[in-house]
Assembly symmetry: C2
Homo-oligomer: 349 residues x 2
């Protein structure tokens, strides 16, 4: 990244805000030379925090607001009520063209409701989705939807596939991302109507998208595909189930190491190697549930993250903005729309 880019930050969202937001901004500034921030929140607090980080000097504009979206606010309440909140103002900055992306660690539902209302979906996209990248045996897999849509039609799933593919190309830099549709078996007759229909559309589509057909839950960690598509209910539950399993095994491992002196000594010797493993599986590395399908970039950081995790969420926003995520999505959906309007015709070259 060489050009200038402004990111709007909701400085008051998240369990450890605003400290970790400002800390994360400082870490990101060190990583991306052309990066600048609009910081929304309590100016007195933010002023003191910004002053602690030399790297932020001249790269941050603080914009004061008293209003905050709380983590237990209903999305509808936040949308109607919190129009001057740090979260809303950060999204407005994207809409108004002042910022190339917004990042918040606040209330996910409120952030999605506001982002949808302010930015609207891109042409051809019915519903935005939440996407993230998870570690696999072969690298990373982009998984969506993670909870924006409880029920999904075949059209929604097809749109998610296209958005996921663009995400893998733009943010992860995968040359020709492969896409799979999550099902409870890989045979064509399996699953509900929506997944079967979506698979049929994706198989026949002339989109530049390498569709691998149905995959199962364990294919995500196996790295069978670069993009795994499912409805928001299944995706949310499955991702949290995976997170819970990872925590469980780590806890079993910790107990095993503590069980006797021999195991403790073994742990001390293996520690440097295990630290690398921990880094590899560190959820902060993959921090950021990204809203895709909107006419603007909004990244949701984990609410409980620290400065390092928040800087990674900023990193995702930077990658999306500088690699042209929105124009690429636009382009693919224009193509998809023109195909859908002429479904019975052989595509003309």
């Amino acid at each position: 990244m060489t050009e200038q880019l402004v990111i709007a930050l909701d400085a008051m969202g998240g369990d450890h805000a605003p400290d970790m937001v400002v800390g994360g901004a400082a870490l990101a500034c060190a990583r991306f030379p052309g990066l600048n921030f609009l910081l929304y929140g309590d100016s007195a607090q933010l002023g003191r925090l910004v002053a602690r980080h030399a790297v932020l000097a001249g790269r941050v504009e603080i914009r004061h607001t008293d209003e905050i979206v709380r983590s237990d606010d209903k999305p509808s309440t936040a949308l109607r009520g919190a129009r001057k909140s740090s979260m809303r103002l950060a999204i407005n900055a994207v809409h108004d063209g002042e910022a190339g992306a917004a990042v918040s660690a606040g209330n996910t539902g409120a952030l999605m409701a506001m982002a949808k209302f302010v930015l609207k979906t891109l042409p051809g996209i019915d519903r935005p989705a939440i996407i993230t990248a998870v570690p696999t045996m072969r690298g990373m897999c982009c998984l969506l939807d993670l909870g924006a849509n409880v029920q999904c039609s075949a059209e929604n799933l097809v749109q998610f596939a296209v958005m996921g593919e663009v995400f893998a190309r733009t943010v992860l830099g995968v040359q020709k991302p492969t896409v799979g549709l999550i099902n409870i078996g890989i045979e064509e007759i399996k699953g509900n109507e929506a997944v079967r229909e979506a698979a049929a559309v994706l198989r026949e589509s002339s989109l530049p998208l390498e569709f691998k057909g149905f995959i199962e839950g364990d294919d995500v960690a196996a790295g069978t595909v670069d993009v795994a598509v499912t409805d928001g209910f299944t995706g949310n539950v499955a991702l949290k189930m995976a997170e819970g399993t990872a925590k469980l095994i780590t806890s079993f491992l910790r107990e095993a190491y503590r069980s006797n002196w021999r195991a403790r000594l073994g742990y001390l010797l293996s520690r440097p190697a295990l630290a690398k493993l921990r880094e590899r599986a560190d959820p902060r590395r993959y921090n950021g549930a990204i809203f895709v399908g909107l006419n603007g970039i909004v990244v949701k950081s984990h609410g409980s993250t620290d400065a390092l995790g928040f800087s990674n969420a900023i990193g995702v926003a930077v990658n999306m903005a500088t690699n042209g995520f929105i124009p690429k999505i636009r382009q693919d959906f224009e193509r998809l729309r023109s195909e859908m309007q002429a479904p019975d015709q052989t595509p003309v070259a």
Copy 2:
């Protein structure tokens, strides 16, 4: 278990059948003194295998059949065609009262179709479900449905909750099992209509069932509840996602240990403690997807399991048969049905 119990085994189902089936039967015989088997399959092969295990002498009756359900047979084909298959005959033995339960490591779809057709569902139960127990921070959690029902109504979910609770009491020996309904958030407004309605029914029910409301995917491994209820699509994907994650972490761990001599030495020292961890997380310990809701006990073992894993699947069948799983389910559903018929009346003591 002191009384006599006969279990019917599909000796030809599974990747390593019939060896691991006979081996599993031998291990189970050593564990349960009153146990006997009906073994369905190729009598020549089975005769040779049985002769190798002294513990099986006089406790096994071999019943010959040539017919086998293949792992890629469609459920409908197997149901219509394979009427003399080892799988079908084992289920028939349960129906005819010759066996207290059937165990198979064969084709899951075919097994479910045959079991449903032959045994039928219990009164008050619309659809059978697949349940299993997974390890958690606090012990075990019974998770259902794992793929028998792609789409589920509120009634289905309520029935799964009742069946899961009886399973936790009968098989896991939990005194007062707690039950949670999987959702994408714990607030009452979250989720689709089916989960919201099911939660409302379970909250108001006077069933002896401790309903804890909504839980999220990570609550399963955290051990928040003894029984986690969801639809078969979500349950299947989530369980496989968890299995994939467990494999991924194990593989990362293996790589970490191999990365240098120091880590290798540390591994050697920690090995006994790590072996205990492996045992704790060994999928063979939790082997067996159990069909619940049918008028008879049928346990599906993992297709790729070995003798130890198969013996554990037999163990689950033994626990269900000897602890009165079916009569207890019957009793709870009679109560549920009488409540449902008079939904607006205060229950009379």
